[in-house]
Every structure is written in structure tokens, then in C-alpha cells.
């Protein structure tokens, strides 16, 4: 009984960091519970690399772009979350923890069928709580569909048009749709 109950003892963030160091898999942390990240396809990775490569060339001074391995920490009134966005841009001089960022400006998720629902639902709900975030972009992996959620549009879903490029308010940069999907065929 107590053994079973013990499996539900929520993990503290400190325990989560120790756990992450001790295991080869990445996990996301949702208010005391951890979920293993699934591996990515080459297509997924190619799209993420495309985004990072182009972003890097267009970043304002003082901004950094990270891919896949840097966490975002989200602290709400009663809960704490750590996610691994596929791509995140951070522009804060004071936001310098070695393992995570707390004030990202732009976040990208490259969505596979198995993550799309979490990206649109749970993660959108939590990312929009980050006061510094201006743009959250979900890039379809298996179809050329790009969804943009912007703070100035009250986080309403916008589908990027087939000929439309992606303007990112927070960093004053624009990414071409064709660059995001460069080398990817559907």
C-alpha cells in the first residue's frame, strides 16, 4: 500500500535535475511528474535545424537561440514546469541559468502526430503564461502547416498562409516558409 502510494510522491525540481543527470533520456517536468521525451525523426530534426540556422543569422544582438537541449522553466502560482522546446530564443541578460531559460521571447515546436495535441493544448496554455514570450510557433512535421500564436493577437491561432513568411514580433525577424522547410518534401 504505502509502496504503491509512494510511486505518486511528486518529484521536487531538485530531484528532477538529479534524475535528469542520471538518465540518458530527456524528461519534461509537469508539477511533480516527469514524462520521457520521445526520440525525433530525421525530418523533425532537419526542420528544427533549418529554423535555428536561419534564426541565428537574423538574431538581434544579445539574443541567443537554443535547440532541443535547453529547458524552459515556467513557474505559476501553484505549479512548476520544465519543458524542452525544439527551438527557443532568449534575449535577457539576466536569464542565464546553465540548464534553463525563464524569459524566452520566441518558442518553436516541430510537431509530430504524437506531440501535436500536447503542443497545441498543454504547452500553449503554459507557454503563454511566460510574460516575456511574444510568439509561439508550431511547425508541422508531416504537413507544411505552420500555426502561429502571438501575444498581441491574444494567442489566437493563426495559420500561416501557403505563400506567407513568418514574422516574429519579439525579435523583429522574418523567416521564409521555404527556408523552414528547406530540403523537406511532403
Amino acid at each position: 500500500m504505502s509502496e504503491l502510494a509512494a510511486t505518486f510522491a511528486p518529484m521536487s525540481p531538485q530531484e528532477y535535475f538529479a534524475f535528469e543527470e542520471a538518465t540518458p533520456l530527456k524528461h519534461e517536468y509537469l508539477d511533480g511528474l516527469v514524462y520521457a521525451m520521445v526520440g525525433a525523426t530525421t525530418r523533425h530534426n532537419k526542420i528544427a535545424v533549418n529554423i535555428v540556422t536561419r534564426l541565428n543569422l537574423r538574431l538581434p544582438r544579445g539574443c541567443d537561440v537554443f535547440v532541443s537541449d535547453v529547458k524552459v522553466r515556467i513557474r505559476l502560482a501553484a505549479a512548476e514546469f520544465y519543458y524542452y522546446p525544439d527551438v527557443l530564443v532568449s534575449c535577457s541578460e539576466t536569464d542565464r541559468h546553465p540548464l534553463y531559460r525563464e524569459q524566452p521571447v520566441v518558442i518553436f515546436e516541430v510537431a509530430s502526430p504524437s506531440t501535436l495535441r500536447v503542443d497545441r493544448g498543454e504547452k500553449l496554455a503554459n507557454y503563454r503564461q511566460i510574460s516575456s514570450l511574444t510568439d509561439y510557433v508550431i511547425v508541422g512535421q508531416d504537413a507544411p502547416e505552420i500555426e502561429v500564436y502571438r501575444r498581441r493577437n491574444d494567442w489566437a491561432r493563426e495559420m500561416l498562409g501557403a505563400e506567407e513568411d513568418l514574422a516574429l514580433d519579439g525579435i523583429g525577424a522574418t523567416l521564409k516558409r521555404s527556408d523552414i522547410y528547406a530540403g523537406v518534401t511532403f
Binding site: M1, A5, R117, E122, A125, A162
Partner: protein, 191 residues
Amino acid sequence: MSLAARKHTLISAADYLAAENDGAWRHEFVNGVVYAMAGASDRHNLARGNLAGLLRAEAQEPWQVFDAEMKVRIRSNAEERYYYPDVFVTCDSADRERYSRDHPVLIVEVLSPTTERIDRTEKFAAYRGSPTLIEYGLLSQDSVELELFRRRTEWAREIFVEDNVVTFESVGISLNVSRLYRGIQFEGRPQ
């Protein structure tokens, strides 16, 4: 933004319902987006059936107990969602739409590896937005464990394990959690 692209991706609730009520497959609807429902394991199905059966045996009018094939509609502000909870109970004689209910008092999801995260996050958040909901439960299919969250305690987690008696305050029914696992065998530990 391109209207063509938007149209391609989002559908109206009316179109969803028209397709869903005729269709052979179940889908959930989240603000214009439709997600197919996965099939379930034997344990998942047994646990769900046990819970629904026990609730049904004791529930009195106007309570109604549904499992798996009935939709709950959650509406708030600009949002509209249709979900298929594993088990839910309503207690409102005016809530009688043919294909859905608006006023659940108890919802229980049986956890599975592919849906657990959604049950704990997206659905829990949406269900909490239903003003009538009193309790939300998550039932494990891998061990005798029921997690229960009640509005009264601001949705704090309570855990019930083997031989614990849980009281569903929303319907006034108490039962031994082990009864939810009748017919289910865990490895090396027959029930």
C-alpha cells in the same frame, strides 16, 4: 492569414457533430481541431466497465452514468470542446442532448501510456472549467490506484490504493477501490 489554410485545418462544431454522429470512428473536438480516439487495452476496458457498472448499480434518478461512447461538451469564453470521458456522471434532468452532456459532476479517465499526459493536463484543465464538475478521477490500469481531485479541496490530489474505500461525493457512493479491478490480473499478483 490565408483563409484557405485556415479552412483546411479548422472545422466548426456543427460540422464535427454531423460527421461524428454518423461516423464509425470516435473523435474529440478541441476548438476546431479534431483528434481521433485510440483503441483501448483489455485492462483499460475492464476497469472502465467495472467503475461504470458499480456507479450505475447505485446511482439514482436523475443521475446518469456514461462510459466511453458519450460526449461531454465543455464551453467557456471562446472555447468549445467535445470529449469522450471513460466514465462520467451527470445529475441534471434538463441536460438531455441526444449526443452529449453539458453538466458532468464526476469524470474519471482510465490512464494509458498514450493518453495519460493529455488526461492530466489538457483535459483536467478543460474539465475544471465545467462549473458543475465536483470530482475528477484518474484510474491506473497498471496497479490498484485511483487518484481523485475534488473542487472542494481546490483539486488537490488524493490517492486511493488497494482496499482503500473511496467516496465519490458527487454521487454519494462509497466503494472499495479494489473492486474496480475485478477480473484484472497484474503480473505475478492475481487479484
